[in-house]
Symmetry: C2
Subunit: 261 residues, 2 copies
């Protein structure tokens, strides 16, 4: 099967113009089909502050009231998405920026949890796989902002990690999928305070062992559990590391590569 | 040739949720290929005011400094575009929202005019016709926000009327194009103060006669000159009227229809 790289970048890259430009250059150089999923970084928080809209967080998730939804739609699907697309176009990468409403590409529902009102936060129901395949076969690099919709006219703020994972899973019947999570560390670390202690390869047996002996940073466990779920669902590899090392993440010379064996 | 309707809506519809919803319902019901081009309305101005960014206008055009470009990118390509797309999706219309950077669809250059610095305002160089044709043939209704790019990574604020016209002209070799300009009046009026004085049909001979006898409102002349240019470039019809009358504009029961004869 043909290869595809699905790369998720977060705030640490989006908030730093120099890092972002370096990353986009490396991303544009990938000679294979590719999708970029981005979060929003601190821009949304800063704009909310300037407008005097108070931001509430519960369990690390932003509570998306109507005003905050406006802001994240403007910042993520507008400012961040279109600037990334324009940069990629200048690098001869034929980018197309979308939200999950475009082409009905990502359908979600408003999160319901007893006791907590997350507001306009979306949990994904369905990725429109054939739509992504069509765009990719037509030569597009799809740039996905973390805004989805419920099919009834409502936009919903949606976790970018989850979007990347769901797209990766949905495309795994069509492509040999590598899912890359860019974050602020060099990879999964044996010692959280030592950037040189990157675990190069991680498979399920070794991961269980590390978990049992409590040799893995607790904060990484949800990310890694999700990575193994993606692998179980047909994704070929998950790579975790710094976005600015993208070329080396792909060749296995940086970051942590998670796979079946 | 197959028909296509290219409809431009402006601030008077975008700023009024009820009008916008009524318009989108009628737009979604058009049983033919279609493209929607939207402006931004007062939302951008209001956001700029809230953020304390002073807006300068020269000859009716907004001066787009760096901060204003951020705002129009957020509001037009983000908030307005994605909300229209989500609404159309809820009406079973497979909308895809874009800026001119997406798919390298509309290439422009920074406007240069001796003595006036318009800032990041773009004048269109080229519409990527084959890209629009491909998306339309794949069943998409394209929703275009008035942000284009220069191919070198710079987004540019661009007049929505001109975008609609350039797309209409570029598609006229592939489709039988009807270009519809929605504005606040019922059509081209013989008497600017009388909404019932709509000129139903306008062709070049009659237009010249009206201009010579000064029987046409001066403010309409640039719009009409552009409409006739579009007709000369292969567009089949230009219709001018109220967006909320869209169904009747199409059947010729409302608005002014401009054509060869």
């Amino acid at each position: 099967m043909e290869s595809i790289y699905i790369v998720k970048i977060g705030g640490n890259i989006i908030d730093d113009e120099l890092l972002l430009n370096k990353f986009l250059q490396k991303f544009a150089e990938i000679q294979a089909k590719k999708i970029l999923v981005h979060g929003g970084g601190k821009l949304a928080t800063r704009l909310a502050e300037k407008l005097g809209i108070e931001q509430q967080m519960v369990e690390g998730r932003r509570i998306t009231d109507a005003e905050t939804l406006k802001i994240v739609t403007m910042v993520y699907a507008g400012y961040v998405n279109k600037n990334i697309v324009a940069s990629l176009q200048s690098l001869q990468c034929n980018a197309l920026g979308i939200s999950g409403a475009d082409g009905n590409s990502i359908l979600s529902h408003k999160r319901e949890k007893v006791g907590i009102d997350y507001g306009f936060a979306g949990d994904i129901d369905r990725v429109n796989t054939s739509w992504f395949v069509q765009l990719l076969l037509n030569g597009h690099t799809v740039v996905v902002s973390p805004i989805t919709h419920d099919g009834k006219g409502q936009l919903l703020n949606t976790n970018a990690d989850t979007i990347a994972q769901e797209i990766a899973k949905s495309l795994s019947s069509y492509f040999d999928v590598t899912l890359i999570y860019s974050f602020e560390k060099s990879g999964v670390l044996k010692d959280v305070d030592n950037e040189t202690s990157v675990i190069e390869k991680l498979h399920l047996g070794y991961y269980k062992e590390l978990k049992e002996t409590e040799k893995i940073f607790a904060g990484m466990i949800p990310k890694l559990d999700n990575a193994f779920k993606a692998i179980e669902s047909g994704v070929n590899k998950v790579i975790i590391g710094k976005g600015q090392d993208l070329d080396q993440l792909i060749t296995g010379n940086a970051g942590t590569t998670i796979s079946h064996e």
